[in-house]
């Protein structure tokens, strides 16, 4: 610590070079933060998917509907805490490019099974009272400037209303949630959908079942699938986590691509930083000689040079991560394509470790050389 002023002044020995080095490390960790955010976005919230929730879909594919009669049979099964159903609506608000998810739900059980969607009690009762009521996420409400009480027309694509093409929804509430919760969805009442659609009465998209004992997930899944085997609509049950993971895998291995890019970025930046460090120490050979003459031990020299390189890395990298965090706070820049846009704390920790690692690796060789330098050589070389 007492060497800090010395480190600081040697850092500014060549201002321009230090600034450029700082900036390239800054850029590297800014990119690191952003790429990790994108990677998280493409995992579609798998981290918060519940292990005690099972998803039942039609065995043939997700797009095939299931009969609503399954609900009672599921609820009556031993070990089931709660069961509800969702139906994908897939409508268009004003323009197809305004994509966001609209899902028909059973409001009461839905809010119970998904406590992560937080809704003020008066808005809950407003939703229960209004058949055309819908609740939307805060991010979605902000995107279109909606507030409670607004009437939202949405054109049906899969489901056609009995009259015309437009479904009207009243915004009964705006839900919020912790970081990582998708706040870009619209949930509306299934009874409204079912009574007003032209065809498909009594059909739902998929079931969500909360089981009493999460360790029994596999056995319960097999039990459900057995219950509906050999019917016209056989089911396939997975944990919600498995379901979300499967979905993310369908998009492709975005995670691996992001990691490859991060590796390329960090490798490049490490090279630049290490090269600069080496050169800066080389230029100061005579100074190192003087320090040694003054009685600085080899270890002290080693830690001074290493300290300088770690200091640069910390400054540049820290600012880079902070900048990434700030950008991420401003939300999804694509307007709805990446609903979960957060920089997870775990990745920030990894970033911090990488910063220190970068500083150490970049400073290692020059520090070692400086340590081994003989005073006579060092002074003569100048």
């Amino acid at each position: 610590m007492k060497y800090l002023p010395l480190l600081w002044s040697s850092l500014w020995r060549k201002k321009l070079r230090t600034i450029f080095t700082l900036l390239s490390i800054f850029v590297a960790f800014l990119l690191f933060g952003l790429l990790m955010t994108i990677r998280t976005a493409f995992s579609f919230g798998v981290d918060i998917a519940g292990l005690d929730r099972l998803v039942l879909i039609h065995k043939v594919s997700l797009i095939m509907p299931l009969p609503i009669s399954y609900l009672e049979r599921l609820q009556a099964t031993d070990g089931v805490a709660l069961a509800t159903h969702n139906t994908w609506f897939g409508g268009v608000y004003q323009d197809p490019s305004n994509f966001f998810a609209q899902i028909a739900v059973e409001p009461k059980t839905f809010l119970e099974i998904y406590p992560q969607y937080r809704l003020p009690p008066e808005q809950v009762s407003a939703w229960m009272a209004d058949r055309q009521g819908a609740v939307v996420g805060v991010d979605l409400a902000r995107r279109f400037g909606w507030k409670v009480g607004d009437r939202i027309p949405i054109v049906g694509t899969i489901w056609q209303p009995k009259q015309g093409q437009v479904w009207d929804f009243n915004i009964a509430g705006i839900y919020d949630g912790d970081a990582g919760v998708d706040k870009t969805q619209l949930f509306f009442r299934y009874d409204y959908l079912d009574e007003n659609r032209r065809q498909g009465e009594g059909l739902v998209g998929w079931y969500i079942v909360k089981i009493a004992d999460p360790s029994q997930a596999q056995a319960m899944g097999a039990k459900f699938d057995g219950m509906f085997a050999n019917s016209s609509a056989e089911t396939k049950t997975t944990t919600e986590k498995g379901f979300v993971e499967g979905f993310a895998k369908q998009v492709g291995d975005i995670g691996a691509i992001m990691m490859a890019i991060v590796a390329a970025v960090l490798f490049t930046m490490l090279l630049v930083a290490a090269n600069t460090m080496a050169q800066s120490v080389r230029e100061r050979t005579s100074e190192v000689g003087v320090l040694k003459t003054l009685g600085f031990s080899n270890t002290a020299i080693l830690s001074i040079v290493l300290g300088e390189s770690v200091l640069i890395a910390l400054l540049g990298g820290g600012l880079g991560l902070a900048a990434a965090w700030l950008i991420v706070q401003r939300g999804d820049p694509t307007g709805g394509l990446l609903p979960i846009f957060i920089l997870p704390a775990g990745d920030v920790t990894i970033g911090a470790a990488l910063i220190v690692g970068l500083g150490l690796v970049a400073g290692m060789l020059p520090a070692f050389n400086a340590m081994q330098l003989k005073i006579t050589d060092a002074l003569r070389r100048a």
């Binding site: 065995k59 997700l62 797009i63 095939m64 899969i158 291995d253 970025v265 090279l271 090269n275 394509l337």
Partner: protein, 396 residues
């Protein structure tokens, strides 16, 4: 004038010839620039490959009829009588028997993906016997066409490669239905190569769709008859449909994903580029400062400032060019033709495609590399030219 030119050439040649002596720091700049080019070219090659697959699918001389309000084949629906009416529209190519059009169903079935062994939404299309005449680019590469009225299916080349169990002779069990693969087809690299095709009538039964379809794909007399075809259909009060050229439909389907990938590629490359430019600047500063005595000597001998500037810039550009070529080559060797598949969000179904490192992308990468080199050389070049001769000569 001529003198200035010879000076410039002489000193530039000297710089370039001595580059190997500065291998270490030059290498850093080259690797930095190459890294950026690899990332730029490979990310954009994903977008290029996806777009190529989507656009290779359509022909402007084919029209796709969907229910109005539907945003994809998946959400469309047409009844049997509506389909019959659509096939009577003017502008469709006719042969001696009837209109060359195919009413189709579009569903997805769950099949495991080979790469992850996890379920994926594989598109399945129910076709009518005329479908192969509507799509002239389709040809069988293995096996034979399907027999209508049976549970036989033919599978696109891409689907056969990406998903488990789609080879000739295999049975595909999906729910209570069993399909038999009898052939593999190709379709000019388009999205249909990710699809499984079966008889629409059989699919109607298997999926309890009654006498309904989702779309009609019609072969037009020529690309010009599209307007009359569309106007007749949209003006008909018995129908509630929208008509699009097939090419437009697929272009719209691919827009969201393509622009997302391109935005990502350019954004990352721009940020990384800043880092690489710093690397190049540092390298060139080093190059200039280790040679400040040489440069001062040259200036004292009467070489002018411009030739010094040009020589430094030329060296920076050379570094950029080498980085650009290495990066482009690496991206090409590593990713060109890499087979993968992703999900098309509009239809919730898989699209198989190959990464495509096009010549345009390589040129773009090289141009970007040169730009990085040029920007990186600018400041050091000015520094070199401004070097105060007496001090520099005294240095070291």
């Amino acid at each position: 004038m001529l003198n200035a030119l010879t000076q410039t050439i002489a000193i530039t040649a000297l710089n370039l010839r001595t580059m190997p002596q500065r291998l270490g720091s030059s290498g850093v700049a080259v690797v930095g620039i190459a890294g950026v080019v690899v990332v730029l070219v490979s990310v954009l090659s994903i977008a290029a490959g996806f777009t190529a697959a989507m656009q290779g699918s359509g022909s402007p001389a084919r029209a796709l009829v969907m229910r109005s309000g539907a945003d994809s084949e998946m959400t469309s629906g047409l009844s049997g009588p509506e389909v019959d009416l659509v096939k009577q529209a003017p502008g469709i190519r006719l042969d001696e028997r009837s209109a060359i059009a195919s009413a189709e169903l579009y569903v997805v079935i769950d099949l495991p993906k080979k790469s992850t062994n996890s379920p994926a939404n594989v598109p399945m299309r129910g076709i009518e016997p005329r479908a192969l005449q509507v799509r002239e680019e389709v040809s069988m590469v293995e096996g034979r066409p399907l027999e209508f009225g049976t549970n036989e299916v033919i599978v696109g080349r891409g689907a056969s490669r990406q998903f488990v169990g789609l080879t000739v002779g295999q049975e595909v069990v999906s729910g209570q239905n069993t399909w038999v693969v009898v052939g593999i087809f190709e379709a000019g690299g388009g999205v249909s190569e990710t699809e499984i095709w079966c008889d629409a009538r059989v699919l109607q039964g298997a999926y309890r769709r009654g006498n309904t379809f989702q779309t009609v794909l019609a072969r037009l007399d020529s690309s010009e008859t599209f307007d009359s075809f569309r106007d007749w259909l949209t003006a008909n009060p018995q129908l509630n449909v929208q008509v699009r050229r097939e090419t437009e439909y697929y272009a719209q389907q691919s827009r969201a994903l393509t622009s997302l990938i391109q935005g990502l590629g350019f954004g990352i490359a721009a940020l990384m580029g800043i880092g690489a430019v710093f690397g190049a600047i540092l390298t060139m500063y080093t190059a200039v400062s280790t040679r400040s005595r040489e440069i001062a000597t040259l200036r004292a001998l009467g070489f002018n400032a411009v030739s010094v500037v040009v020589s430094v810039l030329a060296e920076a550009l050379a570094l950029g060019a080498i980085g650009g070529v290495i990066g482009g080559l690496a991206a090409y060797l590593a990713f060109n033709g890499y087979q993968t598949s992703t999900m098309n969000f509009q239809t919730f179904s898989q699209v198989a495609f190959a990464f495509k490192v096009t010549p345009e992308l390589l040129v773009l990468g090289l141009a970007y590399a040169l730009a990085m080199g040029l920007i990186g050389g600018l400041l050091p070049a000015v520094r070199a030219a401004r070097l105060p001769i007496p001090t520099a000569l005294r240095e070291l």
